[in-house]
């Protein structure tokens, strides 16, 4: 992007501070950022888990029972609980950032950021309610 600056005759020796390997522990916001980035791994796992579930369902009752038994094992249970925490963190942090990335205009006026944020949460609540209704109500 640009040439790296170099010392001159009058400024012969610069001090270049090194960024610590643990820079992400220096501020709470950096830590939240790293956790948010890490959450993508768990989001990916959730997708894989869902696909495995769909495959098991499509292969008949016995495979579905096997899948449920496997899901009941302590290791998978712990992975899924941790994944749920990270997916919730992922959703909340991105919903909160959405107003910065989105500029929405209605009738020529910019929609306030908190409305954009709220609309994400409302959509989340509605889709969760739909899933609950499908699983428990249907």
């Amino acid at each position: 992007m640009s040439e790296r600056p170099a010392p001159t005759e009058y400024h012969p020796r610069w001090f270049r501070p090194r960024v610590s390997t643990y820079w992400w522990l220096e501020r709470r916001s950096y830590l939240v950022f790293i956790l948010r980035e890490l959450s993508s791994v768990f989001v990916a796992w959730s997708v894989v888990y869902l696909l495995l579930l769909v495959r098991a369902v499509s292969q008949g009752d016995s495979r579905y029972e096997q899948f449920l038994a496997w899901s009941d094992s302590p290791v998978v249970l712990v992975i899924n609980i941790v994944s749920l925490c990270f997916v919730v963190l992922h959703a909340i942090t991105w919903f909160n950032l959405a107003p910065q990335a989105m500029v929405v205009r209605v009738l020529g006026k910019r929609v306030p950021g908190r409305w954009i944020m709220a609309s994400n949460y409302v959509a989340w609540a509605l889709s969760s309610a739909l899933v609950v209704w499908l699983v428990l109500g249907a």
């Binding site: 992007m1 640009s2 040439e3 790296r4 600056p5 400024h11 012969p12 020796r13 610069w14 001090f15 270049r16 501070p17 960024v19 820079w23 992400w24 220096e26 501020r27 916001s29 950096y30 950022f33 980035e37 950032l97 910065q100 990335a101 500029v103 020529g108 910019r110």
Partner: protein, 247 residues
Amino acid sequence: MADQITLQVARYRPEEEAEPTFQEYDVPCPKDWVVLDGLNYVKDRLDGTLSYRWSCRMGICGSCGMTVNGEPKLTCATFLSDYAPGPVRVEPLRNFPVIRDLVVEIGDFMRKLSTVKPWIIRKDHKPLSDGEYLQTPQEMEEYQQFSMCINCMLCYAACPIYGLDQEFIGPAAIALAQRYNLDSRDEGARERLEVLSQHEGIWGCTFVGECTEVCPKDVDPAGAIQRYKLTAALDSLQAFLVPWSAR
């Protein structure tokens, strides 16, 4: 309230030291004194060898950005009394090479800033006799927030991406590019996109968001970058789907 406060000031004298050390100074702490007043007191009364940048003392020039108790701050807008009883640790802005004491090398930022052409670009200039280029208040509102940037570089000091990868063009340069892109009088968006759509441009940003948090003028560089990503992505999509469209 304590009538004195201790400043722990980073000193780096390249002819004497291999790396910075800290020196303590006791300065008065009246309610209306900012950190810069404390440094000026040191310079005028206690130790004339201390080096730092400052100019306007009113949050306009963007010269006096430093790290105060670990946070990037404009020292002219940071009150000493907020840190009472102290001590207050004053260091140079992070992520920049230190030339001396609290003075950092800003050439990298200045070069990057010029690459995004932060000025109004027009294909044709209408004659002066035709008058000004008029704008509606709504058109001005589009870019006004980004025009508040004072190039203080606090956003660069807060950005861990810039700290880790100095090739990243950085928050303020992108926000200022966006300031002109969103200006109804400007026609240079295409030229800027070529610079900003590179990997070291907008795509280097991973949306930590600290640039916006520390900005003393509420510019929201993080927002500018994310909006620019959307523009660049739509542009790429258009080029892919409609390759014959005018670029």
